[in-house]
Symmetry: C2
Subunit: 335 residues, 2 copies
DNA sequence: TTGAAAGCGCTAACAG
DNA sequence: CTGTTAGCGCTTTCAA
């Protein structure tokens, strides 16, 4: 007995004997509408399983109700979106955004031209953007940030940067990690990571700062990809080349650390007996690792919360400053 | 010298001395437009960094250019979107969809009313939906699938279901896992998982089938949450209650398996010496675990590829059948 | 090959 | 409190 599917507020308006405007108001819960009329309209909508098109609303209101979450993979193309760090952060972001009524539009970008970000912005589907990691695209981010407010970036902070970043103090984290290894007797330490991205490079600087004026300690910068499919080879090659293994490894991520532990094991080197390893991030994988993995914890949940909070303020037109959270050394070795 | 920002195709049309229609055609790459005019318009667009609003186009064309990826968390509310299984699958989906020019709109849903899915569909932001896991919402999925074509579901297949599912053969996977434990001498085996969701319940059935007619083997169904924050307690409680520990554990997911291994270790039980553990999924965390974790591998990348492929065909109006991939037993124990 | 005009489905002045 | 009207920015007949 239903008179054709109700597709628009006009259909519903006709059914209810009111104008489309009234239906619009009733369904939006505006209080200026007669409560009985409103109630009747809503009941009708419910019965007919009608919900107004978000798209049309968005076009009209110029609000999108969606946030773009973008992962630029410029420095390390092999790295996959399913990388545990990304996914942990994105998971928290999804939770935060959902709670606040925003959709999360996810994009992975391999920046080949430097208009990747303006393309996304101009596509006009999101009210704002969260960029996950600066990769090697700091220039692009700064350029855009100069006249585009609603954007925040997870990553490292460097003096003079224009874009709003939120992250932990990577320099301090690097120093903590290095200090940890030194305190436990390591003297020949390899840093495993890709310093083309800002965060790893800050971690390495922190590590260097920790051995300042200590000529008895050797720190080797060992370029290593982030993706486990290739980092294993990087690490194996390195170990082969130097012959005598290091007695300490500072990995720029937990994933690299775990890969390193496997490579070491395959060569009959024990952890932490022969080589001590420390990771970075304190992901779930690090918490469950055996042998236990010491690491520098980044509070990713807190980071996600800050990212969303700052972004919403920016969408509202406010300026917000960069946020630098404290990393925390997590010691898990038993020896 | 730029005359105000170009925001619409009308602005650009004025600049180019043509009509908006022509600009629209030129930018869409239609061949019916004079190639010189077209070239000129595109150059102008490039110069002014103009890109037409995807939103407006979508409203007009009734295509959305976006796929909704929805994770319903009905059976286990504690479970977080950052769960490694979800995130691995979503990562692959993002890659597949990005490659094909679709945005991925991510939603996590706690189904409290049973209109969660129709709300999402009616919100009208996506051309189709990928549901990640049936949770305990198979009824809702079947009801929707009855008259909504562009939807595919990652999960288990049960006879008579209406919705299109793609997943591995969970029954077989369960049998393989169980057989593995039996072959290695386990006689008192605990199944750890939440059988309110279809996949775990199929795995348990498979496990039961493996011990059919073997009265010397005991299989305990031990309800366990998926989220590591709570599964640890579940497992500890179980161990305390039965007193004498099982000699085998079949965990419904790798994450549960790893948690179980930790709980066992904390009680001084060795793996696989005292208790043999097998997981499910073969996530990255399982591959790096020490002691090594045997598991039943689901080929998640292949699953993602099937999901997207089938969905696109459904969007084009085709029917597609459910897909059941083969699981694979991965044996990692050394003893 | 191009332009005029009519919407896609909704919201927000502005009047009443 | 409610209706009328005019768009949001684009695409697509239809006619020229």
């Amino acid at each position: 007995m239903l008179a054709g599917k109700i597709r628009t507020i006009y259909d519903l308006a006709k059914l209810a004997g009111v104008s489309a405007a009234t239906v619009s108001r009733a369904l939006a819960g505006k209080d200026m509408v007669n409560s009985e009329t409103s109630e009747r309209i809503r009941k009708l909508a419910e019965e007919h399983d009608f919900r107004p098109s978000a798209l049309a609303r968005n076009l009209r209101t110029r609000r999108r109700g969606a946030i773009g979450v973008v992962v630029p993979l410029g420095h390390d193309r092999g790295q996959h979106l399913s990388d545990p760090f990304f996914m942990t952060l994105i998971g928290y972001l999804a939770d935060e955004l959902t709670e606040r009524g925003f959709d999360l539009v996810l994009s992975r970008v391999i920046p080949s031209r430097d208009d990747w970000l303006s393309r996304l912005i101009d596509a006009d589907r999101a009210d704002g953007f969260i960029i996950v990691g600066q990769s090697d695209q700091s220039g692009v981010l700064d350029r855009i940030a100069a006249d585009y407010l609603p954007m925040v970036v997870w990553g490292g902070f460097v003096q003079g940067q224009v874009h709003c970043s939120i992250g932990t103090d990577n320099f301090l984290g690097g120093r903590l990690a290095m200090q940890h290894l030194i305190d436990r007797g390591c003297r020949k330490i390899a840093f495993l990571g890709n310093t083309q991205a800002i965060e790893p490079s800050l971690r390495l600087e922190g590590a260097k700062a920790a051995i300042q004026a200590r000529s008895d300690i050797e720190l080797m910068d060992t370029p290593t990809h982030f993706a486990p499919e290739v980092s294993g080879t990087d690490i194996a090659t390195f170990l082969t080349q130097i012959g005598d293994p290091p007695d300490g490894i500072f990995a720029a991520s937990d994933v690299i650390a775990l890969t390193a532990m496997q490579v070491l094991a395959a060569r009959g080197l024990s952890v932490p007996g022969d080589v001590r390893v420390i990771g970075y991030d304190d992901l779930y994988v690090a918490q469950t690792s055996v042998p236990p993995l010491s690491t520098v914890r980044q509070n990713i949940a807190a980071g996600a919360s800050h990212l969303v909070g700052s972004l919403l303020r920016r969408i509202a037109g406010e300026q917000t400053g960069s946020v630098i959270l404290n990393p925390e050394l997590i010691v898990r070795e038993t020896t």
